[in-house]
């Protein structure tokens, strides 16, 4: 664990994030590459029990035992399909197992279809204090292109329900670069979003993930996203519209009012440790990363039988670990104190990583202020090139 002490975020005794994956959806979206199952409602109650069981295991794991929790994140899938009682049970269990910080952030992802104020209010009283709503778009045509099952009107109604239910920290998720979308259309959507004044906006460019139906249609030439130039324009304009409404970019795809940044994710980008539970949950302690098996029945069976659920595990060497921390840190607007992060890396990798950063500064991708290095406005568009160059320096 001495190595973990070198991590960007304070190491083995720092608070951790708790991620709970709920892989159930009511329908399949053609662009989604996450692990999920459609329907299987009969499994959900048992799944929650297994999740709790795995959480108890995690709490006994020496890597996590005794560490405070700064955030709990219900991700999916569609965790808003959970009964409020189930959410409450998970939160209570977590609070018993891990010392919680007073301002514990508890986020839950929701889908707009069929959302009711009473349900949301119950989730809130169960402990959820940050609600994210998967809007994706405010245009019905785009929602159809994404094979979403809700309408733009459903989005607005869900947002109103969240407010009515008493949520004062509401985040909405948006996607740009959808086939058929124009730059001006995107800007109009953003203006409408800004007018509703959410605390947080995630704006993701549509990713054509390997193996999805959408990607197949792209390869078959049946759909065509806007040109790369248009998507770059969309990316940059998002800053301006949301920024002028007081919702500032704090990460490549995330915007928030000051103080409403998602702590769970922010700590992750700072290299903080994470306990990821549930089917396909990903964990991270120091230089170790592991992921649970994805298949939900197998996951539950293994928990039931007291067996290990890890599908893949990897321990990074110092240089790769540092490159990863640099990339994650650079994704945030604040950037990262690169030099101090690199202190624990041995030569010659350290020099290579330093020159990789200098190269990116020379290319105008990165800028520096005191010890912090961060992306320039232009450099943010080429973040992966910088990461690639950093990784090239690791071996």
């Amino acid at each position: 664990m001495s190595r973990a002490a070198q991590s960007a975020n304070g190491g083995a005794h720092a608070p951790i994030g708790l991620y709970l994956h709920f892989p159930f959806c009511s329908a399949r979206c053609h662009y989604c590459a996450f692990y999920f199952v459609v329907g299987r409602t009969e499994l959900r109650a048992e799944y929650v029990e297994r999740l709790v069981q795995e959480m108890r295991r995690g709490a006994r794991d020496p890597q996590y035992a005794g560490r405070a929790v700064h955030s709990i994140y219900f991700g999916g899938g569609t965790p808003s399909l959970l009964e409020p009682g189930q959410v409450r049970r998970v939160i209570e269990e977590a609070r018993m197992l891990f010392p919680a910080k007073a301002d514990l952030e508890i986020s839950l992802e929701s889908n707009p279809d069929g959302v009711e104020t009473t349900h949301l209010a119950a989730l809130r009283s169960a402990g959820v204090n940050r609600l994210t709503i998967g809007w994706q778009s405010l245009r019905d045509a785009h929602l159809r292109a994404l094979t979403r099952t809700h309408s733009a009107a459903d989005n607005l109604r869900a947002y109103a329900c969240a407010r009515d239910a008493g949520f004062d920290n509401v985040a909405v998720d948006l996607i740009f670069g959808i086939p058929g979308q124009t730059a001006s259309g995107w800007l109009d959507e953003l203006r409408e979003v800004a007018a509703l004044a959410p605390q947080h906006v995630s704006a993701y460019e549509l990713t054509f993930e390997e193996g999805t139906k959408l990607t197949r249609r792209l390869q078959e030439g049946k759909v065509k996203p806007p040109d790369e130039g248009v998507r770059a324009e969309m990316f940059e304009a998002t800053d301006e519209i949301l920024g002028s409404a007081g919702i500032q970019r704090y990460e490549i795809s995330n915007f928030a009012r000051v103080g409403f940044e998602c702590r769970h994710n922010l700590e992750g980008w700072r290299g903080g440790d994470l306990l990821g539970l549930g089917a396909s949950g990903a964990s991270h302690v120091g230089n170790a990363r592991w992921t649970n098996i994805a298949e939900v029945d197998e996951y539950m069976r293994r928990i039931r039988e007291g067996r290990d659920t890890v599908g893949e595990i990897e321990r990074l060497d110092d240089a790769t670990w540092a490159a990863e921390d640099l990339y994650l840190g650079l994704r945030t607007v604040q950037g990262i104190a690169a030099e101090s992060r690199l202190q624990s890396v041995g030569e010659p990798a350290r020099s290579r990583l330093v020159s990789s950063i200098e190269r990116a500064i020379g290319q105008g991708f990165l800028d520096r202020e005191h010890e912090r290095v961060f992306f320039t406005r232009r450099g943010r568009l080429f973040a992966d090139l910088v990461f690639e160059d950093l990784l090239t320096g690791t071996s």
């Binding site: 993701y204 396909s280 990863e324 992966d384 990461f387 690639e388 990784l391």
Partner: protein
């Protein structure tokens, strides 16, 4: 009967896969030269590569002993011949060491191009031909048809054509008595001044070059000082002997015999195929006819993908050269590819074999540049330069004319593909010389081609438009004037030297356009626009543009996403490391390989 009456020197000539090696093995086991267990593999082909491709690259000789019920013991020297078009000269020298040849034709395939070209060589060397239809046991065999085709080529009584299956042994027992009956014994005077023909050589790391010889006149003995006619060098003979599956030392080899000579020759280049060995102290009045200095006819740059492998490449070439005197190389520097070697080969297959051996036996990864042929460039000042690489081509303003090497090609194919072949021939600037029917379904076409047009992808193309049924063979046929130009590729104005070629002016536009399109596909977008231009001198004949990369950023990056992204980038990393820099443009190795796949 004299000693010579009991010697028969012969070779087996056949098209690829018609069963030459199987028959050789069968003869070896029939004569007790090797046991059945040893006969498991095809003995004559000792390199893996040869076995895989079913071709023989280096010739060997084997001495067999046979006892005839009527006439006592015979010595049968089988001299193997290299099996490919590139080695026509080596084949002719092996044939010159023999008095007879078994002409093997596959009973289902019939006569092929190599059958004909080897037959021509054998007849030129005045060999007695014993025609043999092989593989008569196969279900698809049509021995009558194959025999009829042979009869059309050779004439003579139909019953002279033997029918065998080398694989099952059927008919092979009758072959040896027929060989003894029909092939004349060697003639020569053991007392005459020495003339020994080198028909092959190999390198032994402890003993130096081993020359495989046929003694034509006189006698070669251990302790004799010999002289090579081609270079006048003298060597003291350490050992002579005959070849079974290993070398068997003897005190001497005399006229009519076949064997080996070891004489402390350090460099295999001194034991030249076709050269004549004589006795320093009692030299023959002249060399045996037919010697030609082997010339490289195909040149290509070999560059290691990892620049650190340059030394290894040099060592590997040095090692191959020990056993392959026809391989030539000298250092070459490319601005795009760094340090490498300009290599000269006998032909295209020779080039492929060398590249494959370098990659397989020496674990190198190479980029080979577009092969080129040696051009004769006549300058206005009256000089003639031999140009072996595009970079060496003088300024067009100084050139009076360029001549290119030509070949005479024979293509044997089923008649239904004649149209396809004529079309390719026209595209490749071939001139049809002759068309002859072997039988109503098969035809021999003869062409004169520029060598430069067939040194790559011609053979593949030929096979593809004839569904694999065409066979092809060639020999060099002088030089002809031709309007050749140098075509350059420029990336943002920087010339990529490794992509330059010398090409006929009529083909330049197509080539340039295709290559520019191909490069557009394989060069990844960079943060600036990239102009790809194909140019002859300062005249741009094709242009493509790679637009600038506008963004490259992962949208979602949480938890397990980062690991996925990192792994993806790490997979790409190796490829990127190998990118070559041309000016500001990074060019992947595929770009240099894609040039070899240009359709035209």
């Amino acid at each position: 009967m004299s000693r010579l009456e009991h010697i028969r020197n012969f070779c087996i000539i056949a098209h690829i896969d018609h069963g030459k090696s199987t028959l050789a093995d069968r003869l070896l086991s029939l004569t007790g030269t090797l046991t059945d267990a040893e006969a498991q593999g095809q003995v004559l082909d000792d390199m893996d590569l040869e076995k895989e491709r079913g071709i023989t690259i280096k010739a060997h000789a084997v001495r067999m002993e046979y006892r005839s019920p009527q006439n006592g013991g015979y010595v049968l020297n089988l001299i193997d011949t290299p099996g490919h078009v590139d080695f026509a000269y080596e084949v002719s020298r092996s044939l010159a060491a023999c008095e007879g040849a078994l002409l093997i034709v596959d009973a289902s395939q019939g006569v092929e191009a190599q059958t004909i070209s080897n037959l021509h060589l054998a007849l030129l060397n005045n060999l007695t031909i014993i025609p043999v239809v092989n593989k008569i046991d196969l279900p698809g065999a049509d021995p009558d048809r194959a025999a009829a085709q042979i009869h059309d080529l050779l004439g003579g009584p139909a019953e002279d054509i033997l029918r065998i299956s080398a694989k099952t042994g059927l008919g092979v027992d009758l072959l040896i008595p027929e060989m003894i009956r029909r092939i004349p014994p060697p003639i020569g005077d053991p007392q005459a001044p020495l003339q020994a023909l080198i028909f092959d050589s190999a390198f032994d790391q402890y003993r130096g070059a081993v020359a495989y010889v046929r003694v034509v006149q006189g006698t070669i003995r251990k302790g004799m000082t010999i002289r090579f006619f081609s270079n006048g060098r003298d060597y003291l003979v350490d050992e002579v002997g005959t070849l079974r599956l290993k070398m068997i030392p003897k005190s001497e080899l005399s006229a009519g015999e076949v064997g080996y000579v070891i004489a402390g020759v350090k460099n295999i280049a001194d034991t030249k195929v076709g050269d004549t060995i004589t006795d320093r102290d009692r030299p023959a009045p002249g060399a045996l006819p037919g010697y030609v200095e082997a010339k490289s006819m195909v040149f290509s740059g070999f560059f290691p993908i990892e620049t650190e492998e340059y030394e290894n490449l040099r060592d590997a070439l040095d090692r191959l050269k020990l056993n392959d005197s026809s391989l030539h190389y000298e250092p070459e520097t490319s601005t795009a590819l760094g340090f490498g070697f300009r290599c000269g080969f006998l032909g295209l297959l020779h080039r492929e074999i060398v590249q494959e051996r370098l990659e397989r036996e020496f674990n190198l990864t190479l980029i080979a540049t577009v092969p080129t042929v040696p051009y004769h460039v006549y300058l206005l000042n009256g000089e003639m330069q031999v140009v072996e690489s595009p970079a060496m081509l003088p300024d067009p303003a100084e050139i009076e004319r360029i001549e290119e090497p030509m070949i005479h090609a024979e293509i044997v194919l089923p008649t239904e593909y004649i149209g396809n072949i004529l079309k390719i021939a026209q595209e490749r600037r071939g001139v049809q010389k002759k068309m002859e029917y072997l039988d109503p379904t098969r035809v021999v076409l003869e062409f004169r081609f520029p060598l430069g047009e067939i040194i790559y992808d011609f053979y593949d193309k030929l096979k593809s438009v004839t569904k694999g049924y065409a066979s092809f063979d060639y020999e060099l046929d002088g030089y002809s004037p031709s309007e050749m130009v140098k075509l350059d590729i420029l990336l943002n104005g920087e010339r990529v030297d490794a992509l330059s070629i010398i090409i006929h002016k009529d083909g330049a536009y197509e080539w340039g356009r295709h290559l520019a399109e191909k490069l557009k596909e394989v060069i990844p977008r960079q943060q600036f626009q990239i102009a790809i231009q194909a140019a002859i001198g300062s005249r741009v004949i094709a242009r493509e543009t790679i637009s600038a990369l506008r963004k490259n950023v992962t949208a979602k990056c949480y938890g397990g996403d980062i690991t996925r992204k990192r792994k993806l980038l790490e997979r790409q990393k190796e490829g990127k490391k190998r990118m070559k820099q041309v000016g500001t443009v990074r060019v992947p190795q595929e770009a240099f390989l894609s040039v070899l796949k240009i359709e035209r």
